[in-house]
Symmetry: C2
């Protein structure tokens, strides 16, 4: 079979969103696809149960309902349908009011993880300086220096800045800290915060109570996980304020949802993606997924997919409690730019990856001819096709997703496509895609550090004390943690570091005042 | 040995740039380090020869002299020393003149790969809206839509925009195409381009000739490779224009160069890094390097390192011509943000990585207390320490680089540290770090696509023709390539797609006019 015959044989099209999936450059055989068919049929069944309202996240006893966001009538209870529809209507009404009053020019969105990666991806994929109705800025960390830099870009504009605080529980420290730093900046500028602040959170949460007197509140639902929340108020409010086509986002996702409910595997791009991930990684994360969209607007797609894929699939235990250490590492930025960074390694080097190309057919921009019949966009497409060919020539596998253009419908469709592929893949490898137990360990470890820091600060005094002395007073036997915390305190003028004259004591620390 | 003892035993400090390297959470033994000592001594020798002007890139018969850029008196010939010094003086004089005249407010930097990743990393790491003397914008691709978006942000400002075109040979298509699109935009706006354009290129190159009448020209040297060119005119001119401390960048790099010339391995952080990469990857790329700086300003470090490390190390053949398929995959963005994206997988999932944390001791920004003794920066540092601990607790290895702050000296030192670590590692695994033979294959494949496209366009006419017919007329037997090229032409109104009434013909294409 020629490569063109193989291309035609396996090409999967979703004409309603102008998307196609080419898996011909993956090394599966027809026999393997046939052998996998019973497993993928199981994945269809599991997904149908999830969409019907089954408890798909047993750890948290939660339904998983992000698919209902774009087809509200599918929600298993009429109250949920009503909640989705009324939230969407409220978002649109709020954005229209803000645009109509023209009191605000800028949006400051405070959130992290699912409350930042989706909004940032969509803002960058669909935004344009000439057409955006508001300019969107992000706090997505608890770095006071990084936050000060964003605030510096808003110097003199806080009066006209609408602040979104996005946290399901209100207990995410980075988001809470960012909010407090924003409040402080508004206070310094003499600008009222509450009348410019909007909370997106679960009814009853700590943030919900905290934001009672704010300009507005929008609900997050317990049946939407952070990494699949872009098409809830989390993503839609900022997008609507920016002036993006949120109906297009939802419609694109709904169309893709419908297409990926097909039980005909050859016609279901999410199923084919999941199968190719299995083929590419051995069903065991043995290879990385390099995401290479050849379009500047899709630069942040890989960061979005890192969370969606890695947090969903990176699991220690399977559904039977067996140790599996699953996952797929995802990275990439954009082509042809990344060709200059690491196609050398992809083509010639360690064979530990497969590529997912994203090809965008419409060039956009200036159709300038560099020579007769050759435009700058021809180079972009030529580099994609050439790299795909060069990689194949050296036995490196690739998937190619082709879309007509990067618009709201396409972006919605891409989000829905990868969401469902992740769900299918999780069934194939028998893991729960909808919890994140490992995140808790890191949070607990950080809380331990902060607790220890408090006890160290309480025990600093005018007399320089050794690390051992301070550890003992702070009731810790973790000398390394005590030493590292003291380094940080000393660097920030909160402890005075000195070298003891008694050599065995090493570094000593005293209080500053 | 306690973890604190191990931490202290292996901690490597470079006090002159406030940097330390902690390798204690990697699983090497003292015996292994001893066994590797002869190999790392060979790496010191090879590096000394390189620094003395040996032909380190035999493919291109080139010296590799990026270390001379920050210590010009080390260059093996006095003419090179003079060239480096005069170029630096010219950069400073030019930037001072531009700042003094105040005719320009914005810089548009056009380049890709080494001519973009370093400049973008440094601009973001050291820039600040309140202190930057000029605002820097980048074209780093041949995406006409992406370029139009950057130009839209410069609407009405072209008069005051200085354009840098950066290409060693002048033959890089993305850079050439970006330049042509910039020229067209200036022409549309009625603004003269040449009097605002600056070329950074090799004397005698195509771009050097093309730019004869421009505002200025700065030289690139044949002994500086793209991925190590940040501290040449490539990176320094844009940085100087932005108002960044280029003397600090050079001084930080020079200090690190000096520290990493030590043949005492325990005191040489570049040698220890290279050894830890070997330990972490088995000397075979078996694990990925996840780069996690806990500081917003260092977000682009991983993209910079992707090129420096992957293009240098991703090699098919070793120096003896044996097939080795070497390399190390590099990815990461920033903490604690990325914890919400994939620490779930790092901690619990597939064990295919080691982490390089970058810890910044000074918080900067607003020292707001969230509660007594607890600041937002404490959370940032606590998340780093907590994640390092949680990963160790599950057998995942990490390196921690600690710096006092992100300033020009530190950034220069980081660049120099990783440059030399790459050089050492290449010697350890016996590959040439200074060529990139695989890049050529991708370029050739892309050129083949563009040639084929030209022949297809020549053969389009008013009569719809099948893919087979057009392939035959274009003298190609690659039906897949012909079909994909026609898709792209049709999507951009350059061919008319129709379905033939003769079923076996499938899609047909005609010319548009």
């Amino acid at each position: 079979m020629s490569s063109y015959q193989r291309y035609l044989q396996y090409l999967c099209r979703v004409p309603s969103v102008g998307l196609s999936l080419d898996i011909s450059r993956m090394k599966f055989t027809t026999e393997w696809l046939t052998a996998m068919e019973p497993s993928i049929q199981q994945a269809y069944t599991a997904m149908a149960e999830l969409e019907a309202g089954a408890i798909a996240n047993p750890d948290e006893n939660r339904m998983v309902g992000h698919y209902w966001l774009r087809t509200p009538q599918l929600a298993p209870q009429p109250e949920l349908t009503a909640e989705i529809e009324s939230t969407l209507a409220a978002i649109k009404a709020f954005a229209a009011k803000v645009h109509g009053e023209a009191k605000f020019t800028d949006v400051l969105s405070i959130g992290i993880g699912g409350s930042a990666l989706g909004p940032m991806f969509v803002a960058d994929a669909l935004g344009h300086p000439a057409t955006d109705k508001m300019r969107v800025h992000f706090f997505d960390n608890t770095d006071p220096d990084g936050i000060a830099r964003v605030l510096s870009g808003l110097e003199g504009k806080l009066e006209k800045t609408l602040v979104l605080v996005i946290s399901k529980s209100g207990g995410t420290p980075e988001t809470y800290n960012g909010m407090k730093l924003a409040e402080a900046a508004f206070a310094r500028a003499g600008v009222d915060f509450a009348s410019r602040a909007v909370a997106i959170t679960m009814p009853g949460s700590r943030l919900h109570k905290y934001s009672a007197g704010w300009l507005a509140q929008f609900p997050m639902f317990d049946w939407v996980g952070g990494r699949t929340s872009e098409l809830s108020a989390v993503g839609l409010l900022a997008a609507a304020l920016q002036g993006l086509d949120i109906d297009g986002l939802l419609a694109g996702a709904a169309v893709m949802d419908e297409a990926t409910r097909s039980k005909l595997t050859a016609q279901n791009p999410a199923a084919l993606l999941a199968l190719m991930w299995h083929e590419g990684t051995g069903g065991n994360g043995l290879k990385d997924m390099v995401v290479l969209p050849y379009k500047d607007r899709l630069l942040l797609l890989s960061r979005y997919l890192q969370q969606l894929i890695m947090e969903s699939l990176g699991k220690r235990l399977d559904v039977d409690g067996q140790r599996v250490d699953q996952g797929i590492a995802v990275y990439g930025n954009k082509g042809s730019t990344d060709q200059h960074a690491y196609v050398q390694q992809l083509r010639d080097g360690v064979h530990n990856f497969f590529v997912t190309f994203v090809r965008v057919l419409e060039d956009g921009g200036d159709p300038l001819e560099l020579e007769p019949g050759v435009r700058t966009g021809d180079y972009l497409d030529g580099f994609l096709l050439g790299t795909r060919e060069a990689l194949s020539g050296n036995g490196r596998q690739s998937i190619t997703l082709t879309v007509n253009r990067v618009d709201a419908r396409t972006v919605g469709a891409l989000i829905a496509l990868f969401e469902r592929a992740v769900g299918f893949y999780a069934t194939l490898v028998r893991i729960n895609a909808y919890h994140q137990p490992g995140v808790e360990a890191g949070k607990k470890a950080a809380a331990t550090v902060l607790d220890l820091q408090k006890r160290i600060i309480q025990n600093l005094n005018k007399t320089p004390q050794s690390i051992e002395e301070l550890a003992s007073k702070a009731s810790s036997d973790d000398l390394e943690a005590v030493a590292l915390i003291l380094q940080h305190l000393a660097a920030n003028g909160r402890a005075i570091e000195s070298t003891s004259s008694e050599k065995e004591k090493g570094l000593c620390y005293a209080a500053c005042s």
